[in-house]
Amino acid sequence: MEETWCYQVSGKLEIPYRYFAGEFLSRFFVELRDHKKILGVRCPTCAVVFFPPRSICGRCLSPLGEWVELGDTGTLQSFTVVRYSEPTHPLQAPFVLGLIKLDGADTGMLHLIGEAELSALRAGLRLRAVFKEKREGEILDILYFRPEPVAKEAGR
């Protein structure tokens, strides 16, 4: 077949969706929205405090229900400076995504890192959550995590 017949057509795939967090996770988002509290959940069988919270332990399938209030401070585990742009991004590039182990949690939280010198980013950096003024019950009710002043770091 001749290639002369071929051409390309612009189109798109666009569908709106509506997701439900469910009763269990809603508690997390309501606490975040109304009280600026970050909750995790403990699996007594695995002896792990999970963030994000979840109603089932993926490791042992136990139902979970023991909420744990986590700190709004934590330690940077890994990070990346996102330098490309997509409509899915919450911020204009470049911006920083980090995995943060919140104080009191055993698993890492993904979030944005703000107010940070890129050259100062490193694993082990102490961070504190900055909350949005007008909170809607979503993960971006935390604006980002910013580095703690160095002097305070010594006291941890």
């Binding site: 993926g58 890994s78 990070f79 330098r83 899915t88 919450p90 995504l97 995995l99 993960i139 971006l140």
Partner: protein, 385 residues
């Protein structure tokens, strides 16, 4: 296992940035036509032909619900059976083997396709893997997730950007012996290091390029295989395993699901010392650091020593355990297709048909595929001559 399954034929399209002249139907037809010509097999259920088809593709990548519908005609599915694995092609090969080992089918056509050039960006698709509540709205996609894994791994074990760049240079240079990789060229470590950062520490050349392509292979049970070809390539070991989902749940520098998948495949194939017994490995590294990390997970070296293994020259084509003599995914192999293309490249090595990319004296080859973010699901297959 007394019953064995063999690969009896295979074909791949050229892997290039965009195939503007083909729809997925036509891309798949190109490779199906070749494997049918090689074997002379027709589609039939009377015991003389191809009696089942397994396809690998993805609805969102193809922008089409039930993405196996358009390729059904060319894989002979009309009035016959076809099943779609919505994952990496290595999973499709594994699953197709099970269909034969179960006694249900004799000869199975397996195909995989993806046109990564079709969507405006791959990141728009992989962002949709992430849950709508905790990860998706942060803009995470497979690229930024991989960057978080790369940083965690490199920090943990002191892997350098140069070592990652060396993986890329090796891939591009190896691929010059692979006529299907249209972007193969001589590439220096320096050029990789000078390419722009896209998601630290990943640079443009550390990431696999946007690629269109398809591949096909035919699997047959032992007695059929021996009739179809003089040179069957046996699949003697298979294993796979899922890791946890949330990136923060995982020790990203430690690929426990790959270790588990590999141990299952090795046990089935009777392999006790992977580094000694495996003659060549084709692994799915979508980002350069992954080749180093996956060689650790496969047990070719202790944890943290993937960089050392590379530096020792062991993974070169002439080395003790060559990795990706084909050039691998880093030079161009689309997602979904990647793992099955690795199976085919491993089979080429077992048959000794690798031309200038052929590794000497290959008896046992390993093929690896991965699905999901940061290697959440790994698939390992062991091939023997």
């Amino acid at each position: 296992m007394n019953e064995r399954v063999a690969i009896v034929a295979w074909a791949q399209t050229a892997y290039e940035a965009c195939k503007p002249h083909q729809r997925v139907q036509e891309m798949v037809y190109e490779v199906v036509k070749k494997v049918r010509e090689q074997t002379g097999l027709k589609f039939s259920e009377d015991g003389t032909g191809i009696d089942n088809a397994i396809t690998a593709s993805d609805d969102i990548w193809d922008a089409r619900t039930i993405s196996d519908t358009p390729v059904g005609d060319v894989v002979g599915a009309h009035h016959r059976s076809e099943e779609k694995v919505g994952q990496d092609g290595a999973q499709a090969v594994f699953y197709a083997c099970a269909g034969i080992l179960s006694g249900h089918y004799d000869v199975t056509l397996v195909v995989a396709h993806c046109k990564e050039s079709q969507p405006a960006s791959r990141n728009l698709i992989t962002n949709l893997t992430f849950d709508p509540f905790f990860q998706r709205s942060l803009g995470l996609d497979y690229l930024s997730a991989a960057a978080l894994q790369a940083r965690a791994y490199m920090d943990r074990y002191g892997i350098s950007p140069e070592q990652c760049a060396r993986v890329v240079a090796k891939s591009y240079n190896n691929a010059r012996g692979n006529p299907l990789i249209l972007r193969a060229r001589e590439l220096s470590v320096d050029e990789v290091i000078r390419s722009p950062l896209i998601a630290d520490p990943i640079r443009e050349l550390d990431a696999y390029p946007v690629t269109d392509g398809a591949c096909a292979l035919i699997l047959a049970r032992e007695e059929k295989a021996k009739k179809i070809t003089d040179k069957p390539v046996w699949i003697d070991g298979m294993g796979n395993a899922y890791d946890a989902y949330f990136l923060g749940d995982r020790d990203l520098w430690d690929c426990q699901s790959l270790k588990l998948a590999a141990s299952k495949a090795y046990r089935m194939a009777g392999i006790k010392d992977a580094r000694k017994e495996i003659d060549v490995a084709e692994v799915s590294a979508f980002y350069s650091y992954q080749e180093l990390l996956w060689t650790e997970g496969l047990g070719f070296c202790p944890p943290g020593e993937g960089g050392k293994l590379l530096d020792s020259g062991a993974t070169k084509i002439s080395g003790q355990i060559p990795v990706n003599p084909s050039g691998g995914v880093l030079v161009g192999s689309p997602t979904i297709v990647a793992g099955m293309a690795r199976v085919i490249e491993a089979a080429i090595q077992v048959r000794g048909e690798g031309g200038s990319r052929q590794v000497s004296k290959v008896r046992t080859a390993l093929a690896h595929g991965t699905s999901g973010p940061c290697g959440q699901l790994h698939t390992v297959l062991i091939l023997k001559g």
